[in-house]
């Protein structure tokens, strides 16, 4: 399931709902991204997340579908927020549940790596020097690229 929303989410309730009644699940791996108060050396007050309605949902659904094609998963969940967020706020939740621990870990990792390079979100950070668009990181491209290598190895 994917959701794009302005409001916060209840991490515990979301994870519980994912596995409720599915006793074939042996492991549930989740990752939550939070607003940090420091990015590089500049102190961050808050940020605003812009996104591309329509394409965002499409991109997240494609990433989720691809994860299910690669691993035997009982459930996956992607929730991404947009709008204004303060330090400590939750930005994103990705989770994957499987009979097998490695599948849950790898699929969860895959979901966040691809989300970082494919989902159309842009962060505008409030800094001491004014609002600044966050630059994409080469490490995120590298994180995505490694899944291509891993597939080849399998």
């Amino acid at each position: 399931m994917i959701r794009v929303q302005e409001e916060d989410f209840d991490l515990g309730a979301e994870l519980k709902a994912m596995s409720a009644g599915k006793t074939s699940i042996g492991g549930l791996c989740s990752f939550v991204g939070l607003v940090r108060d420091m990015a590089g050396d500049a102190e961050i007050g808050a940020m605003t997340l812009e996104h591309y309605p329509g394409m965002t949902e499409k991109a997240l659904e494609e990433i989720e579908t691809e994860a299910h094609a690669r691993w035997p998963l009982d459930a996956t969940l992607i929730i991404h927020r947009y709008g204004r967020l303060e330090p400590g706020d939750q930005i994103v939740l990705v989770a994957a549940a499987s009979a097998h621990r490695e599948a849950a870990f790898e699929a969860c990792h895959y979901l966040i790596d691809f989300l970082k390079t494919r989902a159309p979100f842009w962060k505008l950070e409030d800094t001491a020097d004014g609002a600044k668009w966050v630059d994409a990181r080469a490490s995120d491209d590298a994180a995505t690229a490694r899944w291509a290598v891993k597939s080849g190895e399998e």
Binding site: E50, Y52, T117, A119, F121, W122, K123, L124, W133
Partner: protein, 83 residues
């Protein structure tokens, strides 16, 4: 065509969207970038570092060689930074 702009591309262009007929001689995303940049002012500024601008056609990531057609939704934006 429907054109959409996001993040600093939107700020430089000075608007979030516009509807235009497909310009003569514009067959690819790259052609469209060149045509937009030639409009000057904010457009020139938005597309001056064209290696920093990403594109989507009908909500799918594409590169500059991708064709554009009448009725397409074409979006321009910086590399994504969500998550």
């Amino acid at each position: 065509m429907k054109l959409l702009y996001f993040a600093w591309v939107r700020e430089r262009v000075g608007g979030a969207s516009e509807d235009i007929p497909r310009p003569d001689g514009v067959a690819t995303v790259g052609d469209l970038v060149a045509w937009l940049a030639a409009r000057g002012d904010g457009y020139a500024e938005a597309f001056e570092e064209s290696s920093m601008v990403r594109a989507a056609v009908n909500q799918e990531h594409v590169d500059l060689s991708h064709p554009v057609a009448d009725g397409d939704e074409v979006a321009f934006f910086p590399p994504v930074t969500g998550g």
